[in-house]
Amino acid sequence: MTQWYEPITVSEWLKRTLSFFNLLLLVALATLLFSEFRFDWGERLVGNYLASTNALRPEVGIVWKTGNQASRAHTALDSMVTERQDTARAVQGAATFAALSGIVLPGQWTSLDSDRFKELYLGLAPDVASELISPSELVWLFGSPGLTRIFCQGTPQGLEIYFLGSDNRVIRQLDLDHSFLSGLENQGASFSGKLEDIPGFAGRIFPADRFFNVLLALPKEVQPDLITTPELLLREKGTIVRAGIWNEAKSGYIRLGFEFQENGHTKIVFVRAREWAVWRLSMGLAKGDQ
């Protein structure tokens, strides 16, 4: 029996080869191939399919990595700038230098409007203001054409304020360390308790009458430098029973503590005194001891 795949004659062979089915298949394939070469429908099909799934696919690859790095960099930069701007805004609202130091934390910095600085400075008691910078020097600084701006920077020690000239060169630097700042806060503040409770006064506590007798015996020009802010003491209602001299001088000033008694309650009011005046007072008090 002749197999279907074994044509016995040439005509049979041709007939089978050029059968309708074969020709159709051939034409279909040729059309497919030609149209693909001609119209790129395969690429388009795949391309469009991939475009439809684009949003579902991951953001991977060099370009995305670079993009993400850029995005992270911008986020980091934005946070730096935002922090600076927040600090700058908060600084304009600070009512005291102590508040300023609470805003400009260590490592932070900002520019300080010169009017703002003047307000803060004028808000200080005259003796404290002089301790920070003498008014005449400040007048000269603000009057000099070299001053371009004021810059403050938080440090672990407190706050540094720079008066800058051209090229950010420091013309004058003010260091407001923590002890100075706390002094500002304590100025006129009272402490419930007795002088003995404060170690800084140890060994330098005197009865009020003795303290004032020696003080009043000092030349008239010395006395204002010992009680530089009498209003702080005058507004208290009790009686002064004792006075103490702090064991440390700071920027030419020494703190004095006055122990007030009122209705069985004792409290201490702190004021600043010029170091050289306190030295003369101490000499007088020491003579009394002998």
């Binding site: 074994e6 060099i62 993009g67 980091a76």
Partner: protein
């Protein structure tokens, strides 16, 4: 008939097998597409977004843009020379405007060559495929990567126009030498915008992406030209240009802009600055943040420094009998600092950045030799109550050291001159007197002074510290001597004035803050001694070379002549120069006599200073209140006999000195009277 049957049988079988294979292949490819599509990278939309990354820019204090980092600034097709567009299309993918991501005929040809011609490989990537690869894939060569790249290319073709694709391609393609994108390449190689490229330049650039390193025109210019000619021939072949135009272009030799070399910064200063930035902000912010960095570099001073170091090293080569091409050649470094702020105005870290990026100005710790003596003399004046007119004796000295051999320092000239005032001792760099001083102050005092002035390298507490046996960098020396120039006010050296984000908001700025670290009067006395070094002593080469402004400094040469220094300053600029070999090797005239800092480094210093200060008014060192000047006999330390007029004979042992004294200091109160 049987044969016919067999043929028919085979043909039929082959046909159906092929059909089956095609069917299976189609199915496999379809499955592969579905599988691969899942983790294909997402293509950004629009495509142009991917190349819009701002670049970090570094500016000189004089306003010039020194360099850009990272980022890309895309240019529209309309701003690119048509010569380049034609060249790149003709070379990379001449059917770019016809296909849909795949050049099938070229791919089949490449496949045939790859399969049937072992050892030969032909690329068939279209511009779109190259774009897909550059944007999303690593350069790992695998069939799967190739397939995924092809799929992305199809998607890009389906969603973008040919113009968008070409725009993305020319703006992200690598041309080598750190140039990514046509605009940067055009600027880097020719210093012109991409729109101005002529045919010769455009075709040269279009030839580079095939192998940016191999065809780097800075390094292989002739090879790049050969490739350029191939590009031109391709352009003729595809009808982009006439043969005549190609021939004319082939005859040109496009002029590259000088001193770019490659992708590196080309500047020791910028390298040091980038290191600082990365340390402070991290790589992402520096390379991808698009920040603007305003540096302290003064381009005029930098050019003067480059010139002075290059000229000085050539002179040193000649002195040593070395020729270009000999190896190793001595190296040099220079750092110039503005004394009033600490700003680093110029920095040279070596002979040629493109030969070695090692920055000797900040990374190399070398022994400063006698260059360290000013710190010792300050410590001696401060701690021992001496003054510049105090007399000590130049004599053999033996310093006993517990648990170690005695220290017996020798003078450079190997002879002893007897009694002399301290000013004379520093002027002529007398080692035995330095040894006597350090024995009395202790090495800790010298270290303390050096550190106060700004030396940060570790310093060993040994007596020989007085003779500079601990390594320091030229940056430290320039900075430390700057403290002397300001009568004891130290400014921290810095490279960056201000950093801004891409929108111009300040994120950091330098406050030039001085800190008093030395007594001004004693510092002035030391400065006066150092002026004498320049005027009459080991640094007088500076005067011989015509630098006449008020200046102070100190030479330094190590015992073995491995290091030769000169660090000096005027009231406004402090500059340290080091010369020597990277490895231990003596600087010597044709292998014999050693070369000192006064001969090797001082001329570079003088050359630089003459140029750097040429437009500045002359200034003298400010004299602190409480300083008075007295004439003194350099041997007795007393007022000179006779009229006390200052001697002019530089070689005279009995030249009369003028010394600055503090209010409480008097003459003839010498330590040792001869």
């Amino acid at each position: 008939m049987k044969t016919l049957n067999s043929i028919y049988y085979i043909a039929r079988l082959s046909f159906y097998a092929l059909l089956a294979f095609a069917g299976v292949a189609f199915l496999v490819v379809t499955c592969l597409i579905f599988v691969a599509a899942k983790d294909l990278p997402q293509v950004p939309e629009p495509l142009g977004r991917i190349i819009d990354v701002p670049q970090t820019e570094v500016f000189a204090v004089t306003g010039e843009r020194l360099m850009t980092l990272g980022g890309r600034v895309p240019v529209p097709l309309s701003s690119v020379s048509t010569h380049f567009l034609d060249a790149v299309v003709a070379t990379e993918d001449h059917r770019f405007f016809e296909h849909h991501g795949l050049n099938k005929l070229r791919t089949l040809k490449a496949l045939y060559i790859t399969l049937f011609k072992p050892g030969k490989i032909q690329g068939a990537s279209t511009i779109t495929q190259q774009l897909a690869k550059n944007l999303f894939f690593s350069f790992e060569k695998t069939y799967l990567r190739k397939f995924r790249e092809l799929l992305v290319a199809f998607q890009i073709e389906a969603t973008s126009t040919k113009q968008e694709i070409l725009h993305a391609y020319i703006n992200q393609i690598h041309f080598g030498a750190g140039a990514q994108g046509i605009e940067k390449a055009s600027q880097l190689f020719f210093g012109i915008p991409a729109s101005d490229l002529n045919l010769g330049q455009a075709s040269l650039l279009a030839g580079l992406p095939k192998s940016p390193t191999r065809y780097n025109p800075f390094r292989h210019y002739d090879r790049a030209l050969k490739r350029r000619n191939t590009v031109l021939k391709r352009m003729v072949a595809v009808g982009a240009i006439e043969a005549l135009a190609a021939r004319e272009a082939m005859e040109t030799r496009p002029q590259l802009i000088a001193r770019q070399g490659d992708s590196r910064t080309g500047s020791y200063f910028v390298d040091a600055l980038i290191n600082q930035l990365v340390e402070k902000y991290g790589e992402e912010v520096v390379f991808h943040g698009g920040i603007k960095v305003f540096s302290t570099l003064d381009t005029r001073l930098q050019a003067a420094a480059d010139g002075a170091v290059a000229k000085g090293l050539v002179r040193l080569d000649e002195m040593m009998g070395l020729k270009q091409g000999d190896a190793p050649l001595p190296q040099g470094a220079l750092v110039a600092i503005d004394t009033g702020s600490g700003a680093v105005k110029a920095m040279v870290g070596g002979r040629d950045y493109f030969q070695t990026e090692f920055n000797r100005a900040v990374q190399s710790r070398r022994q400063p030799g006698s260059g360290f003596k000013p710190f010792l003399f300050y410590a001696a004046l401060n701690d021992l109550g001496l003054n510049p007119a105090s007399v000590l004796t130049d004599k053999p000295v033996t310093v006993e050291i517990n648990g170690a051999p005695d220290w017996r320092p020798q003078n450079f000239e190997r002879r002893f001159k007897g009694g002399m005032v301290l000013k004379q001792a520093l002027t002529h760099s007398v080692n035995t007197i330095a040894a006597q001083l350090v024995e009395r102050t202790g090495p800790a005092a010298v270290i303390r002074t050096a550190q106060r002035c700004g030396i940060k390298s570790p310093l060993e507490e040994i007596y020989s510290i007085a003779l500079g046996t601990c390594g320091v960098t030229p940056l430290e020396m320039a900075s430390a001597f700057s403290t002397f120039a300001t009568n004891g006010v130290r400014h921290e050296p810095f490279l960056i004035w201000r950093v801004e984000d891409p929108f111009g908001r300040v994120i950091d700025e330098h406050i030039a803050q001085g800190k008093r670290v030395l007594d001004p009067e004693i510092t002035f006395q030391v400065v006066d001694m150092m002026r004498s070094v320049v005027d009459n002593g080991s640094g007088r080469n500076v005067r011989r070379l015509g630098f006449t402004r008020p200046a102070a400094g100190k030479t330094g040469t190590t015992d073995s002549f491995n290091d030769a220094w000169f660090t000096g300053f005027t009231p406004s600029l402090s500059v340290s120069v080091w010369t020597g070999f990277d490895r231990e090797k003596k600087l010597a005239v044709k292998g014999r006599v050693g070369i000192t800092g006064g001969r090797a480094a001082a001329p570079i210093w003088a050359e630089f200073m003459k140029e750097a200060l040429k437009n500045e008014p002359e200034r003298d060192f400010p004299i602190p209140g409480g300083i008075r000047f007295e004439a003194v006999d350099p041997v007795t330390g007393c007022a000179p006999e006779g009229d006390g007029s200052l001697g002019t004979d530089l070689n005279s042992v009995h030249q009369v000195f003028r010394v600055p004294l503090k209010e409480d200091q008097i003459l003839c109160q010498g330590e040792e009277k001869p």
